[in-house]
Symmetry: C2
Subunit: 178 residues, 2 copies
Amino acid sequence: KKESNPNYSNRGMTLEEDLNETNRFYCSRNIAIVHKKPTPVQIVQVDYPRRSAAVIKEAYFKQSSTTDYNGVYKGRYLDFEAKETKNPSSFPLQNFHEHQIAHMTQILEQDGICFVILSAFGHIYLLPAGRLIHFWERMKDGGRKSITKAEIEDSGTLIPIGLHPRIDYIKAVEALYF
Amino acid sequence: KKESNPNYSNRGMTLEEDLNETNRFYCSRNIAIVHKKPTPVQIVQVDYPRRSAAVIKEAYFKQSSTTDYNGVYKGRYLDFEAKETKNPSSFPLQNFHEHQIAHMTQILEQDGICFVILSAFGHIYLLPAGRLIHFWERMKDGGRKSITKAEIEDSGTLIPIGLHPRIDYIKAVEALYF
Ligand SMILES: [Mg+2]
Ligand SMILES: [Mg+2]
């Protein structure tokens, strides 16, 4: 591995923070417009105090039926989920949910660009959704419940880590899909 | 106006419900994959009762920095906002916010397909974002604070109302952008 791509682990930042910074960078330079979707919440009770803003008094986190990020790059639809593991040798598929896999399948059928950004083994990878769906199907057919490190190195594209943007995934998108 | 496009008003359904039904129809037939984004909420306090789900005890509605709907159609990125007015003669621009106009401008620069769906004057129109931005700029330059009925009939595309899907906006998208 090149020294220009140092280990991603233990930087004190979360993958989500790094992706948000990256998306702000892309947005500010008109490179791509990508946003994280708001966390879905089931609202049960709202108070409307006089002269002040409505207060949500009871609500619950809902499972999202889609992925976390979507947006546009050169007119094309981009859609991805970001996940991390501390597992040193494989990426557990339990990090994904059936409805997310179903959503990714639909996006691919509609010719959208769909992938996952994986933080694993000290690196960041872009894994195309088609490959993830392949490993998911293998599990459903009784196979292993994870993707091995070798499989990720083989099927994924290493994303360079930098300062600004931190996770330059559009470089990998450009190389893979354009 | 043709009888096949009866008045949209007073049907007891909201525009949002009709669009959600339409998007479910598109999704189930692989015509397009479009979702409404979750309402953004600022979470202040969460309780974690033992053996049960986390309960959000204090939260506030946040202004969205984007539009309400986005998704993919034939690989292209789709992005739109839906708005209604009861005003019989014009569409007030106060229905939109500066940051939504800024978002639409960025989407157009990235070659995304961006528009608004307007419920007005008993009909549903697709108005391309470029036209909305034009009327918004006119207001900022000291001009009128609304879009006249004649301007909407001129700049917008009438969307046929049906039972299933209720608001077949992809027909207008296909005619205008493909
Ligand atoms: Mg997630
Ligand atoms: Mg709205």
